[in-house]
């Protein structure tokens, strides 16, 4: 350092202090910079951006114009939405959504043809559902087991009674009709006989293996008792008017089908997934055939089968409600998909967990119940939610077999000459699309949220 003597002050051409840093050039910062970096960073990128802007220009303003700015918001019949050429009030060539039609039909789109004075029952079921489901979805809230029992055990029964009116009639199922004529009494006699037979079989089996029959008998009696209680409640007359399922419709029916489908398919799917992993050849074969068979055919053919063929396969005189038949079809179909989701979870559990369960001396069912399934099912929650989204969208197919879900209701409203205009169909379908989109989008967000939360970084 030879120039240490030269003081900075003497040298005029040397700057004494640092200048403050200049802001980055306008072209590199702020909106312009961001645009340059993200939109116009090269020739090809610029072209892409321009194409994108052109596409947006093509679609968005036209859509907004049609559905909002040019739309009709009030009116009492088709005149409000039709052009003068079509006998209405709007100028010739006008085209815009017809929202008052949606307003008039809103009740039908949500409740179907459910009687007006009984709508509180549907609303109550919906409120109960939200109250029960919300804490279940939030991982931070405890008491999951109790919550699950309430949602899977108590809620369906309450919903069933509220929606249908309860007071089921049973006519018995076991003894020939010649002994006791079909009646509620016969049903309970039959039921007691069946319970006795089951308990007897359990005792016999346990005796044969020299083990204590008491716990098994207790379990069996408990199961039959719970079942009897459910049947009893379902047959009790709560003074609710009966609402037949052909009056159900709209969003309510969509929800009923989707939720019943998913709830019924879960246990079935778990059994099938376990069956597919089983080392018993016939069990495995059966599960594989069942799963692949249902997955290989379109849902609509399954629904055709349930609506046209199922009645033929039942014994003479036994008939199922149309909705119940569709539900059976949907449940079996989604069980096959659920089985594959659960199988994914089972396969993701490290082998050490299975071996650990064995080392503890747990039986197969014990190890499944206490070790494997709780972990496996937790992993596949996003998969289950995705299956549910798929099922929720697929419920629209029941409109093809004549059930009036949201789409079926929209389709049936299109034949109302009171609102018939060229824009009616698109307005109705746009409403339906919006409704489904909100539900499905929320569920898919939830699925992503759970995926992130459950991702413990163990993925290989």
């Amino acid at each position: 350092m030879t120039d240490t003597n030269i003081s900075v002050e003497n040298v005029s051409f040397v700057r004494g202090k640092m200048d403050p840093a200049l802001p980055p050039p306008a072209s590199e910062s702020g909106i312009v910079g961001w645009m340059k970096k993200n939109l116009f960073s090269g020739t090809s990128n610029t072209i892409f951006t321009l194409i994108a802007i052109w596409l947006i220009y093509l679609i968005v303003p036209g859509f907004l114009q049609w559905s909002l700015f040019d739309a009709v918001w009030s009116g009492s019949d088709r005149l409000a939405c039709a052009t003068t050429q079509q006998g209405g009030e709007l100028p010739v060539g006008w085209s815009g959504a017809c929202w008052p039609y949606i307003g008039t039909y809103m009740k039908q789109f949500i409740y179907g043809r459910y009687p007006d004075h009984e709508l509180w029952r549907v609303n109550l079921v919906f409120v109960l559902f939200v109250i029960g489901l919300a804490p279940l979805l939030m991982p931070s809230i405890g008491h999951k087991k109790l919550n699950l029992i309430l949602m899977l055990g108590v809620f369906p029964l309450v919903a069933f009674i509220l929606l249908t009116g309860g007071s089921l009639n049973y006519s018995g199922f076991l003894l020939p009709n010649s002994i006791i004529s079909p009646s509620l009494l016969k049903f309970w006699v039959d039921f007691i006989i069946l319970s006795a037979v089951i308990v007897g079989v359990v005792i016999a089996l346990k005796r044969a293996t020299d083990s204590d029959p008491k716990p098994a008998v207790r379990q069996a009696l408990f199961a039959m008792g719970v079942f009897a209680l459910v049947m009893l409640i379902a047959s009790t007359n709560f003074g609710l008017e009966e609402v037949e399922t052909d009056k159900w419709g709209g969003l309510m029916l969509t929800m009923v089908i989707a939720i019943t489908g998913i709830v019924a398919s879960l246990p079935l799917g778990i059994m099938l997934a376990l069956g597919r992993q089983s080392e018993m050849p016939f069990v495995r074969l059966f599960s594989v055939i069942f799963i692949e068979g249902w997955r290989g055919v379109p849902l609509i053919t399954v629904l055709f089968m349930s609506s046209v063929l199922l009645p033929l396969f039942l014994p003479d005189g036994v008939t199922f409600d149309k909705l119940l038949r569709a539900l059976i079809g949907v449940a079996l179909f989604s069980a096959a998909y659920m089985a594959e989701v659960v199988r994914g979870g089972l396969q993701a559990i490290p082998k050490g967990q299975y071996e650990g369960a064995m080392a503890l001396g747990l039986s197969f069912w014990q190890s499944m119940r206490m070790i494997i399934l709780p972990q496996a099912l937790k992993i596949v929650i996003p998969g289950i939610v995705n299956t549910f989204i798929g099922l929720f969208k697929d419920t629209t197919l029941v409109s093809i077999i004549g059930l009036l879900d949201v789409l079926g209701m929209i389709n049936s409203s299109l034949s109302d000459p009171k609102w018939a205009t060229p824009v009616q169909a698109l307005s109705g379908y746009l409403f339906g699309a919006g409704l489904f989109w909100i539900f499905c989008f929320m569920m898919s967000r939830y699925s992503i949220f759970m995926e992130r939360r459950l991702d413990t970084g163990h993925k290989s």
Binding site: P182, A223, E244, D246, V308, L312, F320, K322, L324, S415
Partner: protein, 338 residues
């Protein structure tokens, strides 16, 4: 686990299954307390639900008549709306007791499907509807047109036969549901809408501008529409058959919904036999002797139901035409009650 499965299975059976197998439909119906009647998914004038879900129409009235014959009240009937695809299976499987859904009586349906047609409550024929602006005068001018129709019906076959035999070029567009056919025709997807003439009159009301359309004069087929029951239960077959016949006989004898009360005291032996004041014709059917009186009280005679549902004073404005009584030059002819 096994127990759980068993209980689930048991529940499923007890849930929706209404068991009660027996050969006699009438006994089953009396036990359950109502007649289950299969109808269309909505065809104005024949079977159509209003916004409260109450069914009206010619086909519906026949079912109400059957219910009145059995129970004395036309309200003891439940309606199952069915698509063309489901209708026969629903009847075969016992889901419904009677199918009254503007179903054409054909030989193959009568002989191959295990069904019995219990009469003809509307003589119909297939017609064509086109837009007035096309200025078509005859169906023979329809070469090159697209034709909308219902799939799985006799109409679909008739139209194929007609266009083929007359060497006309055409495109068929066949929908599953009646609503869709009308919608497609209204939207201009097809130039021609074909179905039974009564159906044309009914569906026309759903068009945006009914006055813009015209029905062509040609009738290309015979479409006897009537109620259907399962084969193998003659008693039930007779009840449905004679419900229709009783309504026709009542019209012929001048018995109406309004005067059926006083007619009970009439001297005419034919009326006496019909209304059950003489003889035991009802008992032989397995019903009460006042069976026919109950039918008339509930829905009126055939002429009344016709005028109320599809006649000149209804939006359908169908002329009585071939459906007049035989005595007035029509085809409706009922065997006597004797």
């Amino acid at each position: 686990m096994k127990l759980k499965l068993l209980s689930i299975a048991l529940g499923a059976v007890a849930f929706g299954a209404v068991s009660g197998a027996s050969a006699a439909t009438l006994d089953d119906i009396k036990a359950k307390g109502f007649v289950q009647c299969g109808v269309s998914q909505g065809l104005a004038g024949f079977s159509n639900p209003d916004d409260k879900g109450n069914w009206t129409g010619l086909d519906v009235d026949l079912c109400r008549g059957v219910a009145a014959a059995v129970f004395g009240s036309g309200d003891k009937v439940k309606f199952t709306p069915l698509s063309a695809k489901e209708r026969f299976t629903a009847l075969q499987s016992g889901e419904i007791d009677i199918l009254s859904r503007n179903t054409t009586w054909t030989m193959s349906r009568d002989t191959q499907l295990g069904l019995n047609f219990a009469g003809v409550n509307y003589y119909d024929g297939q017609g064509f509807m086109v837009r007035k602006e096309l200025k078509v005068k005859s169906a023979l001018e329809l070469s090159g047109a697209s034709v909308c129709t219902n799939t799985g019906t006799t109409t679909e076959l008739n139209v194929a036969d007609y266009f083929r035999t007359n060497k006309l070029d055409y495109e068929i567009v066949a929908f599953e549901k009646a609503d869709e056919v009308v919608g497609a025709y209204d939207a201009g997807r097809c130039d021609v809408f074909t179905t039974d003439q009564s159906g044309l009159a009914a569906q026309r009301l759903r068009l945006t501008n009914p006055a813009d359309h015209v029905v062509l004069p040609e009738i290309i087929s015979k479409e006897p529409l009537g109620p259907v029951v399962r084969q193998g239960d003659d008693q039930w077959f007779n009840i449905v058959k004679w419900t229709h016949n009783a309504m026709l006989n009542a019209e012929e004898l001048g018995v109406t919904q309004a005067n059926v009360g006083e007619m009970m005291n009439a001297d005419n032996p034919a009326i006496k036999r019909l209304l059950g004041t003489e003889g035991a014709f009802g008992e032989k059917l397995g019903l009460g002797n006042d069976w026919a009186a109950n039918i008339i009280k509930a829905v009126g005679n055939y002429g009344e139901t016709f005028e109320r549902n599809v006649g000149e004073n209804t939006p359908l404005k169908l002329p009585r035409g071939v459906n007049s009584l035989w005595s007035k030059g029509g085809l409706q002819y009922a065997p006597p009650v004797r």
